[in-house]
C-alpha cells in the first residue's frame, strides 16, 4: 500500500501497538541531489544495480529501470555497474 494512513487524533490510532501501513507512502526521491541515468546501449541487464540498491529503487526487469520516486541518489548502482552504463547526473 502506498497511501499514507492519516492519523488526526487518538481515535485513529490502532487499538494496540500494530502497524497500519508500509512506509512506501514516503517518496524518498526528494532526498536526491544527483540522479542515476542508465545508458541502455551499454547496459547488459546483469542486474547488479538492482541487487545492490539499498532503496529498492531499481526495477527487477530486463532491462532495469530507476524508480525516481524513491531513488535517494546514493550512487551505489553507478559504482557497482561493471560496464559503466550508469552515470550520476547533477540535480533531480
Amino acid at each position: 500500500m502506498t497511501e499514507k494512513v492519516e492519523i488526526r487524533g487518538a481515535r485513529d490510532m490502532p487499538p494496540m501497538a500494530k502497524s497500519l501501513g508500509r512506509m512506501s507512502w514516503n517518496k524518498t526521491g526528494s532526498w536526491r541531489n544527483v540522479t542515476p541515468v542508465i545508458d541502455y546501449d551499454k547496459c547488459t541487464s546483469c542486474m547488479l544495480c538492482w541487487k545492490f540498491c539499498p532503496d529498492l529503487a531499481v526495477t527487477c526487469a530486463d532491462p532495469p529501470e530507476i524508480i525516481l520516486e524513491y531513488c535517494k541518489g546514493c550512487g551505489v548502482c553507478a559504482e557497482e555497474c561493471p560496464v559503466d552504463a550508469i552515470v550520476m547526473r547533477e540535480g533531480l
Partner: protein, 316 residues
Amino acid sequence: MAEVPKKLTIPAEEHICSGHLACQGCGAVLAMRYALKALGPNTVYTVPACCWSVIDGPFPYTTLGVPLFHIAFEAAAASAAGLAAGLEMVGKEDVNVVAWAGDGGTADIGIQALSGAAERNDNIMYICYDNEAYMNTGVQRSSSTPWGAWTTTTPARHFKKRPKKNLVDIMVAHQIPYVATAAIAFPEDVLKKVNKAKQIKGTKYLQIFASCPPGWRMAPEYAVKSVRMAVNARVWPLLEVDNGVYTITRKPRKPLPVADYLRLQGRFSHLTEEQVEEIQQMVDHNWERLLFLEKSTHEMAGIPLEEKKKTKEPDK
C-alpha cells in the same frame, strides 16, 4: 511490465519496501533485505534500539513485510527467546524468530541477554549487523569499533587503541550449533548462511558486516565496494563455524593491501604509514590464526578439509 530477468543470483521477491528512513547508501538496509529474502514471510523480528529502529519508520508505519517488535536496547536476545518459547507453547514450530541488532546492541549492551540465550541454546537466530560504532546516536565508539578508527568519542588524536571485540569466538565458546560471518557485498553468501541457519534448531549467531557511509566518513557510492574490500583485504573474513568446526568460506586469491581498504574511509584518514602497517600485521596475524583454527578443528572432528576452489573473480 518487462519480464523478470533470468540472470538473477538471489530471489526477486522483496520483503522490505522503498520509502524507509535510512541514509543514502546504508549497508544495514542491504543486510536486512538479503536476510529476509532467505527467511521469507514466516518470520518475526525483535529489534532493540539501533538505526533499524528508525529505518523501519515511525509508528504506525513499517518497512518490513513481517512483524517487528521494537524493544529495549539490552533485550534483543531475551525478547526473541520469549517469543520462541511462546510460539513453541502454541505449537507453532515453523516460525523464524530473529533478534536483529546493531554491533553496540550486541557486543556491548545486549551481550548478557545474548550469552544467556546461547547458553540455554534457545531456538532463535541472532543477527548482528556490524557497522562498527553506535551510528544511530551519531557515531560513538563501540567494542566492535576496530583499532585505529576515528569516532566522536575516539577523536583522531585519541583514536581507538583497542582491537575490535571478537564476538565470533565468544559465541563459539558458548558451543552453539552455528556461528557465521557474512558481508553485504556478497549477497549470495548471506542468503546461503541464513538459509542454512534457518534449518538448525538451537541458537544461531550471524554477524553481517554492513557499511555506514556517514559513520565511516565515506561517500555513499562506496557502500558496497568498501565492504567487498574489507573481505578481500581479509579485514573481515567470511567464516562459518558448525558445531565448533571453523571453515573460511572465502579465501581471496590475492589479498588486497589493508591500506587500500582504509583509504576509502575518512575514519582512518589520520593514520600514519606505520599505523597502517600495524593494522596490516594484526590482519595477517588474525588470518594465520583462522587458518590454524580451520585446520585443527577439522582434524579434531575427523572431517577432511576440502581445498576450496580459489575465487575466480578479480579481488578488486
